[in-house]
């Protein structure tokens, strides 16, 4: 197997030889006359020391290659650009190395030389670098280390030459000298002024941190100097998924000092206020002893999490941070003060100053570094400062903004509860005041900025934001008004790129108009989440640390079973609540080793799960409790060949207690009996879609029979004149039919009652039938048939009376992989993954999807651009507003939760939390999201996790319908100035009739009046979610409430339930 070529043999042998003479002698002998071979090996021997990790990193860049062809200059004594001699390496960071160097000409002096790391030296970096270097030259400030020179080395590595500052990082300096808080503040002022100077020259530092602010003593006076100006920008890249992948090294800025706006994937919009933020962090650390976010925590967190913390987490005030620090005493000692006193000193004005610089919203920060310095000066001078404690209302509105979705749903709940309980006076007053404030802000934002389109747009968006905050506030205050306000149609269209020309816009792969998508959907989602009892609560995703999680869903989707190489046990999960139901084989781990189990199968009713272990024992477990129900002793040939999902049941005798067993046979479902298994003669069986007890047994494609699983008796044998070639038999039309393909080009429909033939569908062309499907109510039968070499045909028969419709489609050869039908529409997919949706009433497809990704069980579908369609409504779904990603980036989990999923990033749209993960996540074919960590591991030390998401559903609801529904539900409408005007009984009845005339967007769309403004709603949810034995008291409470409110219709329902 391992043949060796002469070149290989000689090359490796020559490598062993030491010294050029020995090698030459060996080559002479080994190659003989073969000059070409010798030349080759000689070249290779020459190149061998330079190979290094050439091509070994998995990515290939020309620069890297060029650099690798030449020796690296990064060693002491090397001379850069003919004039800088490297002396000593004094630092090493993500971007490169810092050396002390001697400048040899034109003047001799000692300088600092920053050598930018390889891999950052791409052409675009070099271009930016050059532009930046020239800009840096214009800075001249006593507190800024001058940039003296810069360029690229012979091997193409960029470098900066800077004034050598012999200082220590400002934090270390202050601690070593035990400077007091006031001294620290005083020392900090010139730092701000230095930054201000740079800002005036149009340069943003972008990476202010202690190690870039050095303090040196000049005649015993400490002089801070800011170094590394603009380096970040020159070598900076946008935060992309790539940088996430490569890790912190490429991040522009240091997470602990990074402004929230820097912690995004689009850093184009960084301005001087990012530096103000970083200055704030620096001051925070100088005073409180650690930066707002503990570096330890950032170190531990995944990058997504880091960015989230920076963006969203409100840091504690410096005084709070200090007083909760472990090293409190030593921090205080370094400031020559008693801990209590230091805390008291910071509390108040210092807190406010620092927190103003640290505002997440940069428009609320100090506008300039000088402004920051001036406030510190005012504080030191005992004057009134500009910064003031944030108002309660502002904090509230910020909170609401950050947690919009959760709050919407939660507050709908809470709102109802509050409405029922009654609002306390103070709460109401507070809420009113908050609203007034927010209203004022919204107005101010609209009025204040007149400077150009951008700021106007910005203002509008802010106004919308505030408006939403306001409405959410109202939702808490008065559910009825809140819902109505939120349901009002809003201006939703906007151009995300107003300043770009058409070409640019066309080149943009997607629009980012995410926040401003129709609000109605969002409200609908919130309302339905609340109103639809099924999804009573939002829960976080499950995550499981495992590199490769396997799973199986129960037929009804309520339960799933997972197992993986790490967590070996078979675990049962509740997919709606995301809770663990239990583990199988709790007592015998070895036996339950999933890798050794032959099969794991859910019963059709999802109530039981069946496993068979290596000893041949079949066990039947409850999916509710994960308890063992029964065992069937060995010797049953029930085996799973695992690669093609085949399970063969060859000989199984009567079983006693197992209600159902489902297995897969050659990728086709079949069911085994309720009380017994009838398998000796019958090779494959299929179950009806309904709870019927009939099954189809098919023996060797010859005999097709119907069996009753309750009695274990044969019901009937299908009346088939043909012998042989029966394929694909299944129940259809609500189990009234048994449909299968006979021979090559016939689909025959039999009665499921007596096995008699109802009709046979034949096409005169005689082309071979490839597959067929029957619409749910038996109205249509669709058949794909091989027609010519160039294409397949799609034939549609309509029942009652049976007739063939004109052909609606031509398909690529072998086009069908699957197709779904309902009574109005048909979806075809082909092997190339394109899909089309046809309406039977229209001749052309409604959609032609370029690449189809997944059709979920629920009938959602998405294409390659991640547009999501609801097959039932034939509408394209749009992510709710308030989300940071557009729908094109989103994917839909089984029950409708949007999840952004890329190779490296995953965000749960409901909680907006990043899902910790390393590489790939994917959606299961059912559309449920199950994540896998990478199963190949290229990096180092990655932690693998899997995640599973249960979630609420989002629906597209038209504004009119939504508004009407909510009006009916709350029995009133919004008058001028947002006043709630209740309807009288007559108006309400009328509106109810109007609503009834609308087609609901979804069968489960709440019935008018369903959403009550009291606790009823909550109780109903509890009732639905409760286990059987806990339902009774809830039903009693519900009866009591409905009786009291005079809702006789519903009271009847509860009475009936209680009497049952």
């Amino acid at each position: 197997m391992t043949e060796r070529s002469p070149a290989e043999v000689i090359f490796f042998a020559a490598l062993e030889k030491i010294g050029p003479e020995q090698r030459a002698a060996y080559l002479e002998a080994a190659c003989g006359e073969n000059v070409e071979l010798r030349r080759r090996v000689e070249l290779m021997l020459e190149a061998h020391p330079k190979v290094g990790d050439f091509m070994a990193t998995g990515s290939f860049s020309g620069e890297a290659k060029e650099a690798r062809l030449k020796p690296s200059p990064d060693h002491a004594g090397a001379v850069i650009a003919g004039k800088y001699k490297l002396l000593e390496k004094i630092g090493e960071g993500g971007m490169g190395e810092v050396w002390v160097a001697d400048q040899l000409e034109p003047i001799k002096r000692r300088v600092a030389l920053k050598l930018i790391k390889r891999g950052m030296d791409s052409r675009s970096v070099l271009a930016r670098f050059e532009a930046e270097r020239q800009a840096l030259g214009v800075m001249d400030h006593p507190n800024i280390a001058k940039v003296l020179d810069g360029g690229t080395t012979e091997t193409g590595q960029p470098y900066f030459v800077m004034e050598l500052v012999k200082g220590t990082p400002i934090t270390e300096f202050c601690d070593a000298r035990r400077l007091t808080a006031k001294q620290r503040l005083a020392l900090f002022i010139p730092v701000c002024q230095a930054i201000q100077h740079a800002h005036q020259k149009g340069i943003i530092h972008r990476d202010i941190k202690p190690s870039n602010v050095l303090v040196a003593l000049h005649d015993e006076t400490p002089v801070p100097k800011v170094i590394d100006f603009g380096v970040a920008k020159a070598v900076g890249q946008q935060l992309t998924e790539k940088t996430i992948y490569t890790g912190f090294g490429n991040l522009v800025g240091t997470p602990a000092y990074m402004a929230p706006e820097q912690a995004t994937f689009n850093q184009l919009d960084i301005d001087t206020r990012a530096d103000v933020y970083a200055l704030g962090v620096l001051l925070y650390e100088l005073l409180a002893g650690s930066p707002p976010v503990e570096p330890e925590r950032l170190k531990r967190a995944a990058l997504d999490e880091v960015l989230r913390i920076v963006r969203d987490e409100e840091p504690p005030r410096p005084s709070v941070r200090f007083s909760t620090s472990e090293g409190k005493a030593s921090i205080a000692a370094m400031r020559q003060i008693d801990p209590m006193k230091l805390s008291a000193l910071m509390r108040g004005e210092i807190d406010w100053i620092v927190m103003k610089a640290l505002e997440k919203d940069r428009s609320r920060r100090y506008e300039t570094a000088n402004g920051f310095a001036a406030d510190i000066r005012r504080y030191l001078d005992g004057e009134a400062i500009q910064a003031h404690p944030p108002s309660a209302s502002y904090r509230l509105s910020k909170f609401v903004k950050r947690h919009r979705v959760v709050i919407a749903t939660v507050s709908a709940f809470v709102g109802m509860l509050i409405a029922a309980v009654g609002i306390s006076g103070t709460l109401a007053i507070k809420a009113t005041r908050a609203r007034t404030e927010a209203e004022k802000n919204a107005r101010l934002y609209l009025e204040a900025s007149t400077e150009g389109q951008r700021s106007r747009l910005d203002a509008e968006f802010r106004a919308i934001d505030y408006q939403i905050d306001l409405d959410l506030e109202q939702l808490k205050n008065d559910t009825r008004v809140g819902l109505l306000r939120l349901a009002r149609p809003r201006k939703t269209e906007f151009d995300p790129f107003p300043f770009q020309n058409d070409d640019d816009r066309k080149a943009m792969p997607f629009s980012i108009g995410d926040r401003f998508q129709p609000l109605q959907e969002f409200v609908a989602a919130a309302v339905i989440t609340v109103g639809q009892l099924k999804y009573a609560r939002l829960r976080p995703p499950l995550t499981q640390e495992d590199d490769q999680l396997s799973y199986v869903y129960s037929p009804d989707g309520s339960t799933f079973l997972t197992w993986g190489p790490e967590e070996k046990r078979l675990q049962l999960w509740d997919s709606r609540k995301a809770t663990l139901k239990g583990k199988l084989y709790e007592d015998d781990e070895d036996l339950g080793d999933p890798t050794r189990l032959d099969g794991r199968l859910f019963s059709p009713d999802s109530k039981t799960i069946l496993t068979r272990d290596v000893t041949g024992m079949i066990r039947c477990w409850s999916t509710e409790t994960a308890k063992l129900l029964s065992r069937i002793d060995g010797s049953h040939s029930f085996y799973d060949t695992s690669d093609n999902k085949e399970i063969k049941v060859e000989h199984v005798r009567t079983m006693k207690k197992e209600p159902y067993i489902r297995a897969l046979f050659q990728n086709e479902d079949f069911a085994l009996g309720n009380n017994r298994l009838i398998t000796e003669r019958v090779k494959a069986k299929r179950r009806p879609e309904t709870g019927d007890t009939k099954i189809i047994g098919q023996e060797f494609a010859v005999r097709v029979e119907l069996w009753d699983t309750q009695t274990g008796k044969l019901i009937t044998r299908l009346d088939r004149p043909e012998s042989g070639n029966a394929t694909g038999f299944r129940f259809a039309n609500e189990s009234k039919w048994v449909v299968g393909q006979e021979g090559k080009s016939k689909v025959v429909i039999y009665s499921a009652n007596d096995g008699r033939e109802i009709t046979r569908l034949v096409h005169h062309t005689g082309g071979e039938f490839l597959s067929f499907d029957v619409s749910p109510n038996g109205k249509r039968v669709v058949v794909s048939a091989k027609r010519t070499e160039n294409g397949d045909a799609l034939y549609v028969w309509e029942s009652n009376p049976w007739r063939l419709l004109p052909r609606i489609s031509e398909l690529q050869p072998g086009a069908f992989r699957q197709f779904l039908t309902d009574d109005q529409a048909l979806i075809t997919t082909d092997a190339g993954n394109s899909a089309a949706l046809y309406d039977f009433d229209a001749s052309n497809p409604l959609w032609n999807l370029d690449v189809l990704d997944v059709i979920t069980k629920d009938g959602f579908l998405w294409d390659r651009f991640d547009a999501i369609y609801d097959i039932k409504t034939k509408l394209r779904l749009i992510a709710p507003p308030g989300h940071k990603f557009p729908p094109v980036l989103a994917r839909l989990a089984q029950d409708g939760r949007f999840v952004k999923i890329g190779s490296y990033e995953l965000i749960d749209s409901v909680t907006e939390k990043s899902i910790p993960q390393e590489q790939s996540y994917m959606l299961s074919s059912e559309g449920a999201l199950v994540g896998f960590g990478a199963f190949f591991h290229f990096g180092s030390g990655a932690e693998y996790k899997s995640a599973i998401f249960p979630a609420p559903r989002f629906l597209k609801i038209s504004p009119e319908l939504l508004q009407l529904w909510i009006q009916v539900a709350v029995r009133g409408e919004l008058g001028p100035a947002g006043r709630f005007i209740p309807w009288n009984e007559e108006t309400w009845q009328k509106k109810q009739r109007e609503l009834a005339a609308f087609t609901p967007p979804h069968p489960e769309f709440p019935f008018p009046g369903y959403l009550a403004t009291d606790k009823l709603h909550w109780l109903r949810a509890e009732f639905e979610a409760a286990p059987e034995d806990k339902k009774r008291p809830l039903a009693q409470a519900l009866l009591h409430r409905t009786e009291q409110s005079g809702n006789e219709g519903e009271a009847k329902r509860w009475r009936a339930w209680l009497n049952k």
């Binding site: 290989e8 990515s59 290939f60 290659k65 994937f265 690669d643 190949f936």
Partner: protein, 188 residues
């Protein structure tokens, strides 16, 4: 999914057409994935070929139910070849664009994203072609390692050679290619 396992089985059984079928399938899957990613990612982004290949594997081979590891070798051989074709195609197109060929903006983005240094990639590809004439088996290793991003043990596994042989071949191949590419470089 079914198609895929059938094709894999056919490759396993040594059916002559199956390899090409597999390649076509993997190629289109990779292209699709790449297009999908390009639609979402920042222009100028370099795609991680290896991540693409692995995602394709996940998608084609399925959802974790009993992966047949013996099929992996065939898959990755196909994926590596497919990835090489995609990258080289993209590089060629980029060159064509540079020399006044295409004017479609989207195409440009597309190419940008795939490789930042088309020249080098083309040089590498030429070198690989020459290498293939001398050492076809080692080229397979290079493709698996470089284009499909397999680790050394995985690549060794896929080729059915021992790890030490693979290591040896890897050093040899890279040195060979480096000399070849250097030649190219100097002659330019």
């Amino acid at each position: 999914m079914d198609d895929f396992s059938q094709i894999l089985a056919a490759v396993e059984a040594g059916e002559p057409l199956a390899t090409e079928q597999l390649l076509t399938l993997v190629y289109s899957e990779l292209r699709k994935l790449a297009a999908q990613k390009l639609a979402h990612e920042t222009p100028g982004q370099t795609l991680e070929a290896t991540a693409l290949v692995h995602e394709a594997y996940l998608r084609l081979v399925g959802d974790g139910i009993d992966k047949r590891w013996e099929h992996r070798g065939h898959f990755f051989a196909a994926a590596a070849e497919a990835m090489r074709r995609i990258l080289v195609d993209a590089a060629r197109r980029k060159q064509a664009v540079r020399h006044g060929g295409g004017r479609v903006r989207v195409t440009l983005l597309d190419i940008h994203a795939l490789t930042q240094s088309p020249d080098d990639l083309l040089v590498l590809d030429q070198a690989l072609t020459r290498f293939a004439a001398e050492e076809p088996r080692k080229v397979e290793l290079v493709k698996l390692r470089f284009f499909a991003g397999l680790s050394m043990p995985e690549a060794a596994d896929a080729l059915g050679i021992s790890l030490s042989t693979a290591e040896r071949w890897w050093v040899f191949a890279r040195t060979w290619l480096l000399t070849e590419m250097q030649k190219e470089h100097f002659s330019e």
